[in-house]
Amino acid sequence: MSDPKSLYQEVILDHNRKPRNYGELAQASHKAEGHNPLCGDHLTVTLNLDGEQIAAIAFQGESCAICKASASMMTANVKGKTRQDAETLIQEFRDMATGHIDVAKQAHHLGRLTVFAGVRDLPTRVKCAILPWHTLHAALHSVADTSTESENDPMHAPIGDA
């Protein structure tokens, strides 16, 4: 799609069509399920930590294209990174999606993940983009189940009904 303002850029559509690291690791050291009860999106993130490094990561689930592409690009980005680097990306991605940092002006480590910057103008879609990151955060902290609506979750961001 040619409109540069559109969220549905080719990279997102491509990751939606051909998600990377799709599936579930059989011997995962960490695992979490994330769901957004407002729209029915749900996904599972499994990963293997080798010391502090994310040696392997996979996701699977049912969701919209924004969520699936976000999950696919997330796994591709954090694989091989340390837990600390992944936490930094989680925070920066969330700040970008909720408009707390302007990726055009402020320093960050998001790289191509900035294709999701446009969701900040679509409040009802912010959670779609954040859900995989939210779930990765839960997996790293070994919270077995998470939800975009659980209030004691540090990633909880109240945004309108879907």
């Binding site: 729209c39 999106d41 924004i66 879609r125 009904d161």
Partner: protein, 419 residues
């Protein structure tokens, strides 16, 4: 040839000047993102004509004071206008008496009022409440709360694959413990129109009162509560070209008189001492505190506006829109219409193969087309059709055949993006 096939060409109802009507709605002139607004989310909330906006301004600039209180002129005017609005609403649904109409904040509060006022007094342990799969959450959750509190039981009328209630199953659910039926007039998620007269007659013969959720019916068809013979009828102002924060619970006078108050406060009492309070008569018994006076008067103006156009003309135009849109979508590969009841009103829910409804909604929005995506506060319906959510286009009398074309073009674009 079926009606749907003959509707492939736009056939606006005769003598219905939709362009003249559209000129009354200032918001329809908006161009969000540079594209003309195609507003197809009327089942969520409809837009307001200038006549209603002007009425709100006139009330607020020249008539506002608190009602039923002071002897000064403004208070008398405000009270008279508020009660005149109640008369207009009573005529609009053909109630026998205007005191049978209680102003509420909307359909949700109307159902909650019936639950607290009637349910908590007359429904007890082991009693049964019949609801249907088609109910909006607002006609499920209050009854679940009651069932939990009292130890009552909810029974649910199933639907078929077209989204029609199974009336045989409905009739089988009745027994000597059945105390209430709660049923929607029109499904907000599917558009199915339920056979209310038959259902109410069956309940009536067994002495069971029926509450009708009319939120999606009142904007689209002539409602006659006496002809229906329902015991309660609830609807919202903001789906009727009126303001938000106002709605109606109609109840038969004899029933309302037997009910306990819902909210306590000023205006709902005749006398108060710390030993004993005597409640006011209906409808004031149920209208504690200062009501949304401006919104009630605005809703009165809205039903005047609708009545001037004519509910039959509105229904005919909307049916033409629905038939035309249905015929278009039926021919599109990869499009599944959800809700194919024989009797439908103004709602077209659909799913696109391989595309999540949220993506459909966002992409249509980029073309200026506003639809609702999600579970429509009707999760049991979604579960029945095994979808997490749908996209829903819902029509009003100010929509046009050209807007249906814009919807169809938008759906084609979504399919192209995801091809």
């Amino acid at each position: 040839m079926s009606a749907r096939q003959t509707a492939l060409q736009p056939r606006p109802a005769a003598a219905f000047d939709v362009e003249r009507i559209r000129a009354d709605f200032p918001i329809l002139k908006l161009k969000p993102g540079g594209k003309p607004l195609v507003y197809l989310d009327n089942a969520a909330s409809s837009q307001m004509p200038q006549q209603v906006i002007d009425r709100l301004v006139r009330y607020q600039t020249t008539q506002h004071a608190n009602i039923h209180r002071a002897v000064h002129t403004l208070s008398e005017i405000a009270t008279a206008e508020y009660e005149e609005a109640r008369r207009k609403l009573a005529r609009f649904i053909n109630a026998r008496e205007e005191r049978e109409l209680i102003f509420t904040s909307g359909t949700t509060e109307a159902v909650n009022l019936a639950m607290h006022g009637y349910g908590r007094k007359f429904i007890g342990a082991g009693d049964e409440i019949i609801l249907t799969t088609l109910e909006h959450h607002s006609n499920i959750v209050p009854w679940q709360m009651l069932a939990e509190e009292k130890g009552a039981r909810i029974r649910v009328v199933p639907i078929n694959d077209d989204g029609e209630l199974l009336i045989d199953e409905y009739e089988k659910l009745f027994n000597e413990r059945t105390r209430l039926v709660g049923v929607t007039h029109v499904s907000n998620a599917l558009g199915s129109v339920n056979p209310l007269k038959q259902m109410i007659a069956f309940a009536r013969a067994r002495g069971v009162p029926v509450l009708v959720d009319g939120a999606q019916a009142a904007p689209h068809m002539k409602v006659d509560v006496q002809d229906l013979d329902c015991d309660f009828y609830a609807f919202s102002g903001h789906k009727l070209c009126g303001p938000t924060g106002i709605g109606i619970l109609y109840g038969k006078a004899a029933l309302l008189e037997r009910m306990q108050p819902f909210k306590g406060g000023g205006d709902m009492i005749l006398s108060v001492t710390f030993e004993k309070t005597t409640y006011n008569v209906i409808p004031q018994k149920f209208e504690a505190g200062t009501p949304p006076i401006a919104a009630a008067i605005g809703l009165g103006a809205a039903v005047d506006y609708l009545a001037a156009i004519g509910m039959d003309a509105i229904a005919a135009h909307e049916h033409a829109l629905l038939d035309y849109a249905t015929a278009q979508l039926e021919r599109m590969p990869g499009v599944r219409i959800i809700g194919t009841a024989r009797e439908k009103a103004a709602v077209l829910s659909f799913a696109l193969e391989g595309v999540h409804p949220h993506d459909v909604g966002t992409l249509l929005n980029q073309d200026g087309v506003a639809v609702r995506t999600g579970h429509h506060c009707a999760q049991p319906v979604m579960q029945r059709f095994k979808v997490p959510a749908t996209s829903r286009a819902s029509f009003a009398f100010y929509n046009t055949m050209a807007e249906v074309d814009a919807l169809v073009a938008g759906i084609r674009n979504v399919q192209k993006v995801f091809s």
